[in-house]
Symmetry: C2
Subunit: 569 residues, 2 copies
């Protein structure tokens, strides 16, 4: 059996090696149009930053061998042909027609089974000047080397990153943190990481990056780029930014033309359509990785997840099935993680805005709690949001989880635990009882992942009337100030706010509220705050019992106020 | 409605506060025989060590208020009566008869609903001298204070810890690490953490603790304690250990006598029997925490999990149900984590030995991989084992996961992700595709949690003939040396072993094996090793293709050899 694999970055090599282990007699040929294969593209920001010293490390095994064609031939028994572009698939004849990009010669490879691992390419909008020197995407090692050599040559004082998705933000950190480049991130949406986290978490992450020196332009449209020999200015709507370097990071497009031209089914959004065995509409042709569409396991709708991790796992599934197995890849919940300077953001499933876009009625909690037992030294505050369906037959099911913490490993762990069950459409009470391993150095007896679910359930059931930090910010910055903040903490904590904002801020500690109800104003809407939202929730219950119902409990409390930069007291 | 709760450490206060939030008009009384309530008992080892400076921190909220009776009355609206021992439940009259431990007076509390949160007590075997001064369990804050004041007074040079479970090992670390006490752990089983991790992981953890100065006596039976005014010697079978301090940590016994005497159903092993609503056999009496038995969600059999985390979650369930709700606690998979000096051990579900004891036929993998992208700076090797059912109608389902790593947060995260789905009896391929959030600073594209599942599947399907490090150790220490080790790594890595053990150790790098098959001895059993087990697996496939079938692949490779201290090369 001869298996031809088009594409050699992530899925292709994985499928090839798995197949060879199961069926050593199979002949496997990988074609790739690049000169390098089997590299960790997700590591590019860390090469740009210098955390990863040499680009070769992204192409090395854990035991320091280069994953080059010689390695694949000798260690894996797989033939890798680089600088060969597949141009046409003749499904009738089972032949791939390709071209050598150096010699220009054409070649034909016959196959028994074919794998499309053609990946994706960066979206490159048709801006004027988009091809000016100094303008890069971050899609392959050559571009990564180009960026880093410019920086190392001292030619980059100011940079503009277009797109505040994961890669854009990672590159912004790399430029600003390690090289001291004045970096501005331009984003067309009104928040960073749009579609992945709530505007509240986005604002917290942005605030942190701003503190680290990164500048942001949100709701900003790029009109083009200008410069003489290379890029010098980024033209926005009504503003120009000076830039020696521009990184375009505005999403990726699946490379599905080859499949479409061969008559294979391709989705309207460009992903190759595959079944759960990762077969295309031609059962002799498999596809996976960044060029395919897979099911969003939360919504049940088609989804697109260009992630190296999914590509690797899908590669193994394809390898198994090529060898005669019948293993399935059911879809994805879209888990992610990203490190941004000294904080980490992670999530899985739908954020509140994504739920809304999917037509789902949702509520979400925002809880703040120590990432380990609060009495354990060196604990950090973690922020975690749980998104839950609000109505309909699946009321109460968890749609997603997102969070933010200084130490990322523990955050990724909580998100990973929810991600593991998210495809089963768990009721929020399942997460309330989720058994995250408990020991004071790592977690809390009632862990934040449980608390986030319990808080969401309280909102869902109408027991807690909640306000987000974004809603608070609008109120806070409204000149009318037609509300009162009731601070439910001890007086020492409340004092700085009382002094700075005597006209709106008042203080009754939660444990005194029952006895001091007559001090509570009944003519103004109340915002209840404490450190994180727990005591203010209990205060809200006490107020409700006393017939005072016009109050909202600020989710995340003063921790959220500070983390998002709404008020610096 | 008056709710009486017997026990005020973990579950009792949680149930009380949840009930009060849902039903502020309810009257709630907590009785406890101790003088302190609502403390984090799991923090005791960190108080003994000095990591937690003051015992009050274990009784404080995250906002630094002491959870004493005044706090519960004013902040929570709950009455807490300390130093009151419940002596009898009159179910007919719905009255709890109790006694004031200071005045000796008896009292009667009538209830509408009753909650048993009586917890557990340390098992105290009937050894001669077990009550000598200087002999402690670690069950409450008073004992913790007793231990620490002895140490702080400089009265402890040598300590013996009886029992190598979680608390025993944590206390051993506390004594040896922070106070420099010469500490010996005595364990009746032939491994530490028996029933929780495989003997391979146990040996690695033990080796680490030995390197940190802790001494172990395994398979050792305590005969008694001796001394004049206080404990001076621990008498083992054939040996005496000098000790100024003895910690007894040999398990706990549920406090279910009150329930049994009241005619409530109690299991043969002593746990109060409850349904999924946490009701006892009397529907007006709830019970939870360390005094109840709950379902082991992996085996479906009764289980016993004395963990503060489960007590807290069960407390919330009881609070909800007392308020008229109908929420369930289905059971537990027994997740755990423990920090031991500079390594962490965590797990969930069944370890290989526990699976065997449950009558389940199981295989397990042992993989070693970086805890984040191997090209990311400061990565650490993680060890992870996946236990999978080997035969029968549920062949391939995951029974458990256990592991070990220097950085614990990432390990706990992987275990937490598997724990989240373990009760659903997932097939191993589900974990192979588990969507742990991927980004190079936190995880790998093919993450260790996926690899551990994939490796287990390869063993399960007979594709990999595996050997554990324990099996290797027996072979290695057998004087006959009737085997050969085929080292599949590059020559530079293999050289030190070749020089030290030329009679058994040979080297053919995996990528050269196909061309050098004639060098492979065919008259001896082969043990295949590489860094971690990946290249040796590929070598095994190559050998099998060549008709050489008498080989075993050492799980965890040289990393396991070194970590377990089998060979120091």
């Amino acid at each position: 059996m001869h298996v031809v694999i088009i594409g050699g970055v992530a899925l292709g090599p994985k499928a090839a090696c798995r197949l060879k282990r199961l069926m050593p007699t199979a002949r496997v040929t990988i074609l790739d149009q690049g000169s390098r294969v089997s590299y960790g593209g997700c590591g590019i920001p860390y090469f740009v930053s210098g955390d990863v010293a040499d680009v070769k490390e992204l192409q090395a095994t854990s035991f320091h061998m280069q994953r080059d064609p010689k390695f694949f031939r000798e260690a894996k028994g797989v033939d890798v042909l680089t600088r060969k572009r597949a141009e046409r698939i003749d499904r009738e004849a089972r032949v791939v027609h390709a071209r050598d990009l150096d010699s220009g010669e054409s070649m034909a490879l016959s196959y028994d089974k074919l794998v499309l691992a053609t990946g994706s390419r960066p979206r490159k909008p048709d801006f004027p000047g988009v091809n000016l020197k100094g303008t890069f995407a971050v899609s392959n090692l050559e571009e990564a080397e180009g960026i880093r050599s410019l920086i190392e040559a001292g030619k980059v004082g100011k940079a503009v990153v277009v797109g505040a998705g994961f890669i854009g933000l990672e590159i912004a950190e790399a430029l600003a943190d390690m090289w001291g480049v004045e970096t501005t991130v331009v984003e067309i949406a009104d928040q960073i990481l749009p579609g992945f986290v709530s505007r509240e978490l986005a604002q917290m992450a942005q605030h942190h990056m701003q503190e680290k020196g990164v500048t942001f332009r949100l709701s900003a449209t790029v009109k083009g780029f200008a410069g003489d020999t290379g890029v010098e200015r980024v033209l926005l709507d009504g503003e120009e930014l000076v830039a020696d370097l521009v990184i375009l990071s505005v999403g990726v497009i699946p490379n599905s033309e080859l499949a479409r031209d061969a008559g294979l089914e391709v989705s309207p959004r460009g992903g190759i359509v595959v079944d759960t065995y990762l077969r295309t509409s031609d059962p002799d042709i498999y596809a996976g990785g960044n060029c395919v569409q897979v099911t969003n396991l939360v919504t049940g709708q088609p989804g697109y997840y260009p992630l190296g991790s999914l590509a690797n796992r899908q590669g193994r599934v394809i390898g198994t099935n090529l060898a005669g197995g019948a293993t399935e890849f059911l879809g994805a919940v879209g888990s992610f993680a990203v490190k941004l300077f000294e904080i980490s953001v992670a999530g899985a499933g739908l954020c509140p805005e994504a739920a809304q876009q999917a037509g789902l009625d949702a509520v979400h909690s925002h809880v703040v709690q120590s990432d380990r037992a609060h009495f354990f030294p060196e604990n950090e505050l973690m922020h975690l949001e749980m998104v839950v369906e609000k109505s309909g037959p699946q009321k109460g099911r968890v749609l997603g989880v997102q969070g933010l913490c200084a130490k990322g490993d523990g955050l990724v762990g909580r998100v990973g635990a929810v991600a593991a069950v998210l495809g089963n459409h768990p009721h929020v009470s399942v997460i309330g009882n989720l058994e995250y391993p408990y020991s004071p150095p790592f977690s809390s007896a009632m862990d934040i992942v449980n608390t986030a679910a319990n808080a969401a359930e309280n909102i869902l059931e109408g027991r807690c009337a909640a306000m987000t930090i974004s809603e608070f910010e609008r109120l806070w910055n409204d000149p009318s100030r037609d509300f009162r903040v009731l601070d439910c903490r001890g007086n020492a904590n409340a004092q700085p706010f009382l002094e700075k904002h005597p006209e709106v801020w008042m203080n009754i500690p939660q444990d005194e509220l029952g006895a001091r109800l007559d001090e509570v104003p009944r003519d103004k809407p109340l915002v209840l705050v404490c450190n994180a939202g727990g005591r203010s929730y209990e205060s809200q219950i006490t107020l409700k019992e006393a017939g005072i119902t016009d109050s909202l409990n600020l989710q995340g409390g003063v921790a959220a106020i500070r983390k998002s930069g709404v008020e610096e007291v």
